[in-house]
């Protein structure tokens, strides 16, 4: 186990260095000049040149990478071109909103998705099942920009129950997290239903029922626990997506999260911000993947890493 952990950590480090090189090179290879994006259209070429020099973009690529790597080791991700402030600070300022939204959406996904999955599985073939399946299909197929705007119009503009946009207070969290959770909730519901149905047909479940266990105990204790393995894989990947991929939801709700920040940074060729976010999210992905793999061993004692 210890050797396995060390090997995984080493692999993670290699992955992250690889990501940093890839991000660094791709950003500088795509067309687009950061100084031109910062200066207004009427800036003379000499000003563009001067600014690019100030931004350190006139050094050879490998020199730029070396400087970058040295700084990153010191915890310095460079100055954001756009915000004229340390890139790490710019990114960290978006962390609270990003985490609040991701956690809320994740909680909704787990609670609603799993409940819906269990309900549709145990009531297979009943109106409950059909209703739940329709909801799941809707959740997966409604584009979230449409869903978001509809929710804003209904609950924000017409009923005025909830704020239309912005970040502040629990009320502002409701509409964006519902919008963001719609897809993964549906995914989780369908996945739970499918794997639960498969497990409920197995012999040890019949044995459990035969020895007189209550249905609730059979489903929740014996079946659901085994159904969580594929679920965990999907949820692990979803956390990463929720943290970094909420761009559309963030746009609709003017949410100051990292998704929109990175997209804007890419459009404006704000290299330090893009690098910081991508390296941070790669780190998060790697760590979550590792944790998920370790959690398997807790949930299913048959899984062992050597």
């Amino acid at each position: 186990m210890r050797a396995y952990l060390l090997r995984r950590l080493w692999q993670s480090a290699v992955t992250l260095v690889g990501v940093s090189i890839l991000v660094f090179v791709i950003l500088r290879v795509v067309p687009g000049d950061p100084a031109k994006m910062l200066l207004p259209e009427g800036a003379p070429p000499s000003a563009v040149e001067e600014l690019n020099r100030h931004l350190g973009l006139r050094e050879p690529l490998w020199v730029q990478y070396e400087i970058f790597l040295r700084s990153v080791v010191r915890g310095d991700f460079g100055q954001s071109f756009q915000y004229r402030a340390p890139a790490l600070r710019v990114v960290i300022e978006r962390v609270p909103a990003t985490i609040a939204l991701a956690v809320a959406a994740m909680a909704l996904t787990v609670v609603v998705g799993v409940s819906l999955g269990v309900l549709t599985a145990v009531r297979q073939g009943t109106p409950w099942d059909y209703g739940g399946t329709v909801l799941a299909v809707l959740g997966q197929s409604l584009p979230n920009f449409w869903l978001g705007i509809m929710l804003v119009l209904l609950f924000g503009v017409t009923l005025r129950w909830l704020p239309t946009s912005g970040f502040g207070g629990w009320a502002s969290l409701v509409l964006p997290s519902v919008t963001l959770a719609a897809f993964p909730t549906a995914l989780v519901a369908r996945l739970t239903r499918a794997s639960l149905l498969e497990i409920l047909g197995q012999e040890y479940i019949r044995t459990g029922r035969a020895k007189g266990l209550g249905e609730r105990r059979v489903v929740l204790r014996h079946a659901l626990r085994n159904a969580t393995i594929p679920l965990l894989t999907v949820l692990g990947l979803q956390i990463g997506t929720l943290l970094g991929g909420a761009v559309i939801t963030e746009s609709i709700f003017a949410w100051p999260g990292m998704g929109k920040l990175v997209v804007d940074a890419i459009f404006f060729r704000d290299f330090p911000v893009v690098q910081t976010i991508l390296i941070l999210s790669a780190t998060i992905f790697v760590v979550i993947n590792l944790l998920v793999d370790l959690l398997y061993t807790v949930l299913d004692p048959r899984i062992r890493y050597g």
Binding site: V30, P31, G32, D33, K36, M37, L38, L39, P40, E41, G42, A43, P44, P45, S46, A47, E50, L51, H54, Q82, Y83, R84, A85, E93, R94, V95, P96, A97, I99, A100, V103, A104, A107, I149, V152, G156, V157, R160, P163, T164, S165, G166, F167, G168, G169, W170, A171, S172, L173, S251, I252, F253, A254, P256, K260, L261, D264, F267, F268, R269
Partner: protein, 507 residues
């Protein structure tokens, strides 16, 4: 700052448990039903990037920072330059300006505004070439303090648009120089509002400066500016009564907003002309007959009426009305038959134009480009619309890989010198349109003098040449559209797209 930390901690802790307490968000609690006279909330289309007035040309940042810092001069919505921190100014000769400063003005921290502030601000923006506005001030030779309230500025060459540019430069206290980074996290200016806090990407909070040098201004105690880039969200927040004013309304949103009780839509001709420029070194753009044919084939009135729903004005000269140099040269005709004849005569049978767009930058631009493609198709010109991400489009322009480029020019300082200098001098246009006409270049140089009569005359001459030569297509003057709560008093829809709320109150 403590407010900011509280919010953040509160979210990290509370958010993680999904049981975030129902603490009202700053600027939001009251926003459900704003208190009379109390708090004004604006929703702007772009996020603010910096608190340094010399380090951006962003319209949103200006809309916020004009409330915190005052410039030396101000410009009214009818393009008059009026005193702000300078009581008067005068060109002593073509390269010397004298500014007489207002007495008794204090920064928010109590220090007096004097000539030292002007010296510091102007020298900083000229000498620190990292600053975004620095390139504009490179022509400044010296800034001299004659006494505490008189400053003389000398320039390396005539700089007639200096007063106009100074409307865009907030004055800083000299003490800012000692610890710039710290200063710009909690800046002080002389403006009608004091800076309170900035939640990045979300909102800025300002409070009234009770000692503002203009009497009975501001009209509200607190000003919150929220950043809501998505128009439908911005409009929803206004319709829900959460905010009082939004900018950058698109024509097709007007009907919805007008139909909502309690909301007014205001529009005004902007200081912006749309201008689609030709690549003048490429086969098509090089030939004046092709440019003429393209111009004749475009039905500008249909674009204005059908696609922009009337929210645009026909162009009668490259410089929009109100600005120095504007003149009337008549509207460009729509005559597809003549366009066809010219092309035939010139021997252009299978002409194809690359029309490059900067993605999502201008209202309805893709629809308009498609309409133009159809109009040009009608006279036998095939159009390739290339809708590119902004940075890529600009790169393509530098490389010269386009025939026609979709763009607009907002004369932000309410002065056309910048536009001419950029697009119609050899140095400026070299990596853009490849425009090169020594006559025009000479006139631009002559038009840089301070004398408005000379400038008007030179600019009229330049425009006559351009109007004939058509290095650009000027399809329409833009219109700025805003929507406000009908409880706002004194709101002025600005031509320069700024949201300025100095004199705005709430009923």
């Amino acid at each position: 700052m403590s407010r900011l930390r509280l919010t953040r901690r509160h979210f990290l802790v509370g958010g993680a448990a999904f049981g975030v307490a129902a603490r009202p968000r700053p600027g939001r609690a009251q926003s459900r039903a704003p208190a009379a006279g109390g708090q004004l909330i604006a929703g702007l289309s772009e996020r603010m990037l910096t608190l340094d007035p010399a380090n951006h040309y962003s319209i949103s940042s200006t809309s916020v920072l004009r409330h915190v810092y005052d410039p030396l001069l101000d410009v009214t919505n009818d393009d008059r330059f009026v005193p702000a921190l300078a009581e008067s100014w005068k060109a002593l000769n073509n390269t010397t300006w004298r500014f007489t400063l207002r007495k008794g003005v204090r920064f928010h921290d109590g220090t007096p505004f004097t000539a030292d502030s002007v010296l510091f601000t102007l020298k900083r923006v000229r000498d620190n070439t990292k600053l975004i506005k620095s390139f504009v001030y490179q022509d400044i030779d010296d800034v001299r303090k004659d006494d505490d309230f008189t400053v003389t500025v000398t320039t390396k060459r005539p700089f007639g648009s200096l007063p106009a540019h100074l409307t865009m430069l907030g004055m800083l206290p000299p003490a800012a120089g000692a610890h710039e980074e710290a200063f710009f996290t909690k800046p002080v200016g002389t403006g009608p509002f004091r800076f309170l806090s900035w939640t990045h990407g979300d909102h800025v909070e300002l409070e009234a400066n009770a000692r503002y040098w203009r009497p009975s201004i501001p009209k509200v105690d607190k000003l919150t500016v929220r950043f809501i880039p998505e128009l439908s969200t911005r409009a929803a927040a206004l319709r829900a009564g959460e905010i009082h004013v939004i900018d950058r309304v698109w024509p097709d949103m007007v009907a919805t907003l007008k139909a909502t009780a309690g909301i007014k839509v205001l529009d005004t001709p902007a200081v912006e002309a749309q201008r689609w420029h030709f690549q003048l070194a490429r086969e098509a753009g090089k030939d004046p007959r092709v440019r003429k044919a393209v111009s004749l084939a475009i039905d500008r009135n249909t674009i204005i009426k059908e696609l922009l729903l009337g929210y645009a004005r026909p162009v009668v000269s490259p410089i929009p009305p109100g600005l120095i140099g504007h003149t009337t040269l008549g509207q460009k005709p729509y005559d597809p038959d003549r366009a066809r004849a010219i092309l035939k005569q010139a021997g252009f049978q299978n002409l194809t134009l690359d029309f490059v767009l900067m993605k999502d930058l201008y209202p309805k631009q893709l629809e308009i480009a498609q309409a133009v493609a159809a109009m040009l198709g009608d006279v036998g010109i095939k159009v390739n619309i290339r809708n590119l991400e902004i940075a890529t489009a600009r790169e393509q322009r530098t490389a010269g890989n386009y025939d026609l480029f979709y763009s607009g020019w907002a004369h932000m300082p309410h002065d056309p010198d910048w536009y001419f200098g950029q697009w119609f001098t050899r140095a400026g246009a070299e990596k853009m349109t490849r425009f090169n006409d020594p006559r025009v270049e000479q006139l631009i140089a002559e038009g840089r003098v301070p004398d408005p009569k000379v400038r008007q005359q030179k600019y009229e001459e330049i425009q006559k040449i351009l109007w004939e030569d058509e290095p650009e297509i000027w399809p329409y003057y833009s219109v700025a559209i805003y929507a406000i709560s009908d409880r706002l008093r004194n709101f002025e829809a600005r031509r320069d797209y700024y949201v300025l709320l100095h004199e705005v109150g709430i009923a």
